[in-house]
Symmetry: C2
Subunit: 410 residues, 2 copies
Amino acid sequence: MNAEISTVASGITAPAGFRASGMHCGLRKNKSKSDLALIYADSPCSAAAVYTTNQVFAAPVGITRDHLSDGRAQAIICNSGNANTCNSDGYEKANAVCRALAVEAGIDEADIIVASTGVIGVPLPVAPILNGIPELFARLGDTEEASEAAAVAIMTTDTKKKEYAVSYNYEGKTIKIGGICKGSGMIEPNMATMLGFITTDIDITPQMLDRALRSVVDDTFNMVSVDGDTSTNDMVAVMASGLAGNRRIEDEDGAYRVFRAALETLCLQMCKSIAADGEGATKLVECRVKGYRDIGGAKKLAKSVIRSPLVKTAMFGADANWGRILCALGYAGAAIDPDMIDVTFRSKAGELPVCRDGRGVPFDEDKAKEILSKNYIYLEVDMKCGNCGAVAWGCDLSYEYVRINGDYRS
Amino acid sequence: MNAEISTVASGITAPAGFRASGMHCGLRKNKSKSDLALIYADSPCSAAAVYTTNQVFAAPVGITRDHLSDGRAQAIICNSGNANTCNSDGYEKANAVCRALAVEAGIDEADIIVASTGVIGVPLPVAPILNGIPELFARLGDTEEASEAAAVAIMTTDTKKKEYAVSYNYEGKTIKIGGICKGSGMIEPNMATMLGFITTDIDITPQMLDRALRSVVDDTFNMVSVDGDTSTNDMVAVMASGLAGNRRIEDEDGAYRVFRAALETLCLQMCKSIAADGEGATKLVECRVKGYRDIGGAKKLAKSVIRSPLVKTAMFGADANWGRILCALGYAGAAIDPDMIDVTFRSKAGELPVCRDGRGVPFDEDKAKEILSKNYIYLEVDMKCGNCGAVAWGCDLSYEYVRINGDYRS
């Protein structure tokens, strides 16, 4: 596991064998905001995905789950502007999109991953998508711009495009992994998070790709919460082209472990960018719980702090109200001893112990304000009863969140 | 169960045998906001209480639980402005408060219910309370003004005092029940709600009083959510003086059932007032789930809708985004069939079906806006798979919630 993992450019098109494109097909009234994205592999790939746990799930989620049952895919098509959820013709229309793309590209319809994001319960205007597919396909490119076009087309209330890529060398081969993703409301753990699309040129079996994705998502995307709302549409999908020329990964060997570490590095970047760009967010908040008895409990504790509206508003106001952190730990659903808990605030501006053994310690309010006014805040919690830890990411709760969501449909 | 339950004046002092008072003792800088309340019974009462489920709980909660183990109490003392939670001297100080009141009143220290509400983790300045007790005791009265003085003294960010009383006749006797309560942040189901103090002159055993309280709280206070944060300090306590002269209730007979119904009527008023006055709330939102398989599941579904920040912001914006309701039902943790669900919006301005069999139905946006702009909104959900239902109460999420909580401590 000593391969050096470095960040590289080009996002989703960085790995060998992938092209991407994005366009405005007409789902959105605003012509300057693109609304249709395509990620395309030159040949069929090993593929895996994780999906929303919401029982109300979008038609494209149901269809993708079906298409990926053989662990194989060649393209991802995604529209923004409409979720295609809770519509009587949702499956019919999502299937029509897959069929049109299959015909245009000359690939198998069952090798297509389809996704939608936007408002729920409004019938999907499918004609703009069907009419746009030829141009979308013609525009495919393997440049940085092509990745960016896809990244921008899947955005909804995101204020920043989110694309990342990492690279590492292993046994003489260069492996690349690229990803694009979008937030930024209805963001909540348990793969219910958002849309994330990942490409890699590693050669790996679908089973091992699935295992790597699930294990990484548990520690990354599933530890992000913006507002506690588990969306109906979300998925993280990965396609592996196999063009890196490595010995095919078929087991949990050293090559698998390095790949998993690189995939985690990429997913960490993606999920932190989603938390930092949560609806209305002015800062990224990271809660690091350590010293707990087991990892499952540590995850519950960290997520409970990140989810608390009172912690989130305190972070917005740079208010060192650590009692709210203890409160959130107390109702997290993991057994705790309040009298053991230490809490420390940290950011670029320094660090400040505010609670020791469950009791407040005197601190400098001006220093606290300075630390909590930065745009990346660490809330460090030591439970002092074990050796397990977990990290969760979220954001503050601002006026802007209320404004965005008070009138989302207009 | 055909006794007529009517609303009467005087709040906590309506039932025979109770007096109340409130004063500014000096915990708050603002002298015009009182911060210490006393509810006093002329002789020891049957008493019961339910408490926060948070593992981090205030010292007064621990002490009250201990004091009420014999089902007997004679006084409730409560300060606002400081939670007395997460302090190393919390128990010592709360005990000192009980001791001072016991001496002043000449009652048993173990017959005192003690409560605190306010900021967590700041040591309680106990001197103002100890110094204030003689005056607080001297001010006790059985008037409407006395009840109001106590109701105002327990307020924190509440914008309105909350006091209610009901009365009914049974077997020739008049029974009264009165209550005061406070919200308005850190409000979340599972008796973790707020402070509620109830008096009644009914003659009832502590066991039956406890049973009535628990069963009513499950359907009222535990169905309220303002922000999903389960506080460290909260309790609902009831004292029964026995002065109504009724045949003592010792079993689940007809008299018990009428008392339970009247207690529920009172608690419903109290908990709706807490929801309507949730921090920053501009409207009361009531979610009524019917047609589900079991009551436990129906409660989960109703609470999930009420808790969803996206539903809450849509209500604030009077935006008929019913897809968010389906989304919240889908992640509630109760098995559902999305294709069966009907959703209807209702208020004084009329009612509007927006979803039938899990699909959107065309509706008039102006009519929806008119309905959702009222200050009491009903979200009616029919799961069409059974005969059980539940009701939950909450409020919208506004800019004001963020403002209040962004800088609570200053």
